[in-house]
């Protein structure tokens, strides 16, 4: 059954869906039935743009994110269509979904170059704009984005990797972060990024980053009629960005090892998001659900293109050393990567 997706390094597309709280389970299980081998679910918050609700403090709605990585881009597209066709996205304002192409990661050492987009897809009309800021500032980001014409955004709580310079009671602490995800067309994404950078500029280092990702296919985006249609086109022949974003899924108890290994390789900051992995199991029937879930963390790192190969080799070596890691590694271009702090 592991034909169309994989826990490992061989995936080439990522399907991400943002749905109302409590609805992820059914969709994830459907995706597993359709052949995906693992889905990871995270929780987040959406905001409703109504001033009255806002005044009453009632403008937040709980959301769930489902992330599925797939071996082939057309498999992702097919899966998304199937999910839509069985009616999961038919309710009004149900949620959004998008597909993101991934870089091909080399099969074995000394094989292909470290990374290459395998699919000649899309100068992609759409972007996923990702902003990572201090805890509590997620709302500010959403406000600024709204003022500049964004329809909606999802805030996800994350942890920064430990700041080794600031010990508290002799232990490292993890700063809390907000990750804000919003989808918009390319032009708007650019202007939003500019607006956010202008509004949140700071001289304090480590206050946050912003970048965007290619999106090849979307579903449920407000005001966009081409739902479920793929953009087609060709990647620019040269690398469009000097930065790569690495998404590493790992069993939660092993998170620290991964962070440490990446730090040794020179990566200075990562964001950690807690979630659960829903895997295909031959034994149905948990207590209240059809699958038995395990705690998974997503580690998000933006690295320089040059670091990519070394980083992936390290992760691969770790994964081979112990099956308990169950790593799933995805890489894609981080477009227009910037930091909010001027000094960095």
């Amino acid at each position: 059954m592991t034909t169309i997706s994989d826990i490992g390094f061989a995936n080439q597309a990522m399907l991400l869906m943002i749905v109302p709280h409590g609805r992820a389970e059914a969709i994830a299980l459907y995706a597993l039935e359709e052949g995906a081998s693992c889905a990871t679910v995270f929780s987040g918050h959406g905001t409703v743009p109504k001033p009255i609700l806002r005044m009453l403090g009632l403008d937040e709605v709980r959301r769930e994110l489902i992330l599925i990585t797939l071996r082939k881009q057309d498999a992702a597209s097919e899966l998304l269509h199937k999910i839509r066709d069985v009616g999961h996205f038919s309710e009004k304002d149900f949620g959004i979904a998008f597909i993101q192409p991934l870089l091909k990661i080399s099969g074995e050492k000394d094989e292909l170059p470290a990374a290459n987009f395998q699919f000649e897809h899309s100068d992609a009309n759409f972007r996923a704009l990702i902003t990572i800021v201090e805890n509590g500032e997620g709302h500010t980001v959403v406000d600024i984005a709204r003022e500049n014409g964004a329809a909606g955004a999802t805030i996800i709580s994350a942890m920064g990797s430990a700041d080794h310079s600031a010990h508290v009671f002799d232990f490292d602490i993890n700063p809390r972060k907000d990750l804000v995800l919003l989808i918009s067309d390319k032009e708007k994404a650019d202007s939003l990024q500019e607006a956010l950078l202008a509004a949140l500029r700071t001289s304090t280092p480590g206050r946050g980053i912003i970048f965007s990702l290619y999106v090849t296919e979307t579903l449920g985006i407000m005001g966009h009629e081409n739902d479920g249609q793929s953009d087609s086109g060709i990647w620019a022949s040269t690398a469009p960005s000097p930065h790569t974003v690495l998404l590493v899924m790992v069993n939660r108890p092993k998170t620290k090892d991964i962070i440490q290994a990446c730090e040794t390789a020179g990566n200075m900051g990562a964001s950690i998001i807690h979630g659960r992995g829903i895997r295909h199991t031959d034994r149905p029937g948990g207590f209240f659900r059809e699958s038995f879930d395990i705690e998974r963390n997503m580690i998000l790192m933006v690295i320089k293109k040059e670091q990519e190969e070394e980083m992936i080799q390290i992760l691969r070596a770790l994964d081979k050393s112990d099956p308990d890691y169950a790593l799933s590694v995805s890489a894609t271009y981080a477009l227009d990567f910037s930091r909010f702090s001027q000094t960095e």
Binding site: G57, V61, S161, V168, F169, R276, T281, R289, I294, E295
Partner: protein, 500 residues
Amino acid sequence: MGLFTEKLKEMGASVLPITFFVILLHFTLTPIPVDDFWRFIIGAILIIVGLGIFLVGVDLGATPIGELSGESLVKMNKMPVLLIGGLLLGFIISIAEPDLHVLSVQVEQFTANIVGRWQMVLVVSVGVGVMVMVGFWRLVKHIRLRTVLWITYGVILLLALFNSPEFHAFSFDASGSTTGAITTPFLLALAAGIAGLFEGEAEDARDRYGMVGLASAGAILAMLVQGAIDSPGSYQQIDIVENITPAFFMEPFTSSLSGVFVDSLLSIAPLALVFIVIQVGILRLKRKSVSRIMIGLLYCYFGLSLFMAGVNGGFMRVGRFIGAQLVLEHSPLLAVLAGFFLGMLTVIAEPAVHVLTDSVQESTGGTVPRNLTLLSLAIGVAFSIVLAVIKIYVEGLMLWHILLPAYILIMILSYFTPDLFIGVAFDAGGVASGPMTATFILAFAQGASGAHPSANVLIDGFGVVALVAMTPLITIQAMGLIYKHRQRKEQQAAVSKDSE
């Protein structure tokens, strides 16, 4: 109104089971007088709406205040500040807890003023403060919860030897009374704020839990010390409130209303105070965030008031009536069975239960679903009411006859249970013994013991809260053990599949 509708639906699902069960009892075993029946229905509606508003308020107000104060205390990075902060926080939230005041008035009467009302409230609050301090200390020193619990309960066992059976009941009841509707979410958030700082790369969310359990243990410790130092030799019988016929239909609601609004204000006040102090002293949040938190506290206040009005006006009389009727008119077996379901369904409507079960779901990334925690908790409380009813029928069965073996079992279990679930279990004990138990279940038990010739209303009345706070420690730990077993099996299966 997404958030409210969502909460209201959820609360409907939590309060309707107990409502339907009472309606079922009404049509089968214990026909309720018609006025009381309709009061009960009005009470249920008030509880649903009140709970909904209250829980929105907890999310917006109580939880952020708890998290922020825990976080900022630790970030100051000074041990004396942290310890004194913990002591003060524990002390002021406990001293304002209405349930504790109700209990201490009863104890004062029962001991003929030997244990005075304020004396007991102060003693218990100091105990809670000390244990919150210990909880803080353990979190920053990264000491395992079970080590602290073993020592604490070891001391409790020793002290219990120097106390009379009556005092055992006061002490263990005090533990349930200190952890009320608003205290519990606040303590949970306090621990979560601290644990969150260290938890990014941690194995699991274990350090988020255990603070409520430690605070409860603090209340027991303090009362036992008090009892060992000057134990009253004799106790006197006092009158328990009987079901007096109300002058008019809405009287039970209106007469409790002013008390309810004052009590709720008392519960909320410490949180507002804490927030003002940290906001002015350390945080300096933006105006938007401050108003959000203030609105949250306001929701907490009105929600809790409505909830309490519903419970006091509509549920208490029915609880007492059902308890009495079951004992008078039916066989012990039926009474035990009814107690089982009553306990099981009542705890689902307990406000803090939702805060805890949601928190567990959230902090485990959803791998421990809230319904699973809720079910374990409900089964636990069901058995506690069974024990309470059995205790009414069996003459000479003392509270410690049940508590001693149970707590020994709990300590043995905690050697095997994964750390996360130890914390959740001990917190669940405090959570289960909230306002719903302190009123509805207690009224049920008092009604039942009042109707049984050999039972003593007071002795059997006291101790019910203690039982409710004890049984979840067993069932939640059992859940943890099953979970661990299952997880191991799944992982083995996954590994063998991958290597194929």
